[in-house]
Amino acid sequence: MLITHEILDSTGHEDPGHPERPARLDAVWAGVADLHLDSDVVRVPVRSAGRAELARVHEPVYLDHLGAFCFEGGGELDPDTYATYDSWPLAQQAAGTGLAVLEELHRRGEGVGFVAVRPPGHHALRDRAMGFCLINNVAVAAAALRSAGERVAVIDWDVHHGNGTQAIFWNDPDVLYVSAHEWPLFPGSGVAAEVGGLAAVDRTVNLPLPAGATGDVVLQALEEVAGPVIDDFDPTWTLISAGFDGHRDDPMADFEMTSGDYARLAAWVRGFARPGRLAIYLEGGYDLDALRHSVAGTLAALLDAPTPLEDRSQGGPGVDQVARIRTERHQTLQLVRAQALGEAP
């Protein structure tokens, strides 16, 4: 069963010509429709996140400034990121709807959550918008679960590193952040040596992979490097920061993934996520056809729904990089653990 929400009208958050645009959501919902799930879909109402819910991950002064900035008409927040008059209420709805889906999942105890909202979130920092992102939707969700005593794994397969999510939970031992991403690439963070703060050593797993990486390499990195960490962490909830800009047709980056690869990644997550405790949050994905097919592939794998998939990609660069990531993480963890114990020089 797919636990999702009423369609969010995001047309008020648009900057003509900007790739992060309302049509992205049309493509996503087309991908859902392709699965013909019919009665197996539950849609909860869109709702706004309250200030206290947002303030778990964002500085109140930032929320005030963002709201005021939008109320005054908006503009550019940085060279990549815009806001309009409507962006503030839409961002509140995006984050709140992510919470509403979690609440419905919790109430039912079954199904897969799917949150298709914009603007996306994983670059948004505690006190700053960045990389098309205003409010960090998946972080708001993870923080809500965290406040209820849950252990949350965030699996981020957007092609860009989710620097905002990483930073927000850097020192939180009850949130595990895993990211497989192209590197070097915006935002420049996400090297293997970033393993978490002193209070949360080994709660951040970064898998920086080269341009041209194919789905088999991304999966290998997740399975071999992140897999044991996830097993050890034993999350009670799993959230996917699902960007689809690693698709070979996406104009933002140079991974060579296909809809079949996203289905395979989703199947991998399904293997460790607890039933009824898995939710997907839309991040990037800017080629509309690729987005549609990748969403369909991801949900098909989680819901056992048949759908045509592109062949899985393989043979790209990065296999050697996986070994280097493992080595770099091991060395860094030794140093950081010694530092945490006060043994470092």
């Binding site: 900057d15 900007h18 790739p19 400034h65 963002l66 005021a68 900035f69 005054e72 908006g74 503009g75 550019e76 927040l77 940085d78 060279p79 990549d80 990121t81 815009y82 006190d127 700053r128 918008a129 960045m130 990389g131 098309f132 860009h160 620097n163 070097p184 690439l185 915006f186 935002p187 420049g188 963070s189 104009p251 933002m252 980056a253 800017y286």
Partner: protein, 141 residues
């Protein structure tokens, strides 16, 4: 406060950035500092296939017009937004101890209060930040 020994200046090729660069070069000359000229490669720059290959030459021309030896000026591209990349340059070794930016770079909407790179830097930086206003006429004249 000690004299700066390593200055980082944000550079996007705009007239504002040229003014900031000229100021940084002047400061470096008087302090015998090194200058890192940093261009932040953002998401839209890649998406729009903006050609920024001319930026190092544009910087080199301004360095040549200054009195600073070219060997003390370095140019780099870094992935990220301007604020993040400049803060990173001030944190990672060899760390910069002064950040110089123009009041705004290339913008579509004209730059508003929140998100203005210069003000974000002023709020977050742990080293001094110089915000150079756009000069009337030729920068540095």
């Amino acid at each position: 406060m000690k004299r700066p020994s390593r200055i980082v200046v944000g550079y996007d090729g705009s007239a504002h950035a040229d003014g900031a660069l000229d100021f940084a070069l002047m400061m470096a000359g008087s302090c015998r500092a090194e200058v890192l000229v940093l261009h932040a490669t953002g998401l839209l720059e890649r998406y729009e296939h903006r050609d920024v290959t001319h930026l190092p030459d544009q910087v080199a021309a301004r360095v040549a017009a200054s009195r600073l030896p070219a060997a003390r000026v370095h140019f780099a591209f870094d992935d990220g937004d301007p604020c993040t990349t400049l803060l990173r340059a001030a944190e990672l070794e060899p760390a910069a101890d002064l950040i110089v930016v123009g009041t705004r770079g290339h913008t579509t909407h004209g730059g508003r209060l929140l998100g203005s790179t210069s003000l974000e830097l002023a709020e977050h930086a742990t080293v001094p930040v110089v915000i150079v206003p756009l000069q009337e006429g030729p920068a540095g004249a």
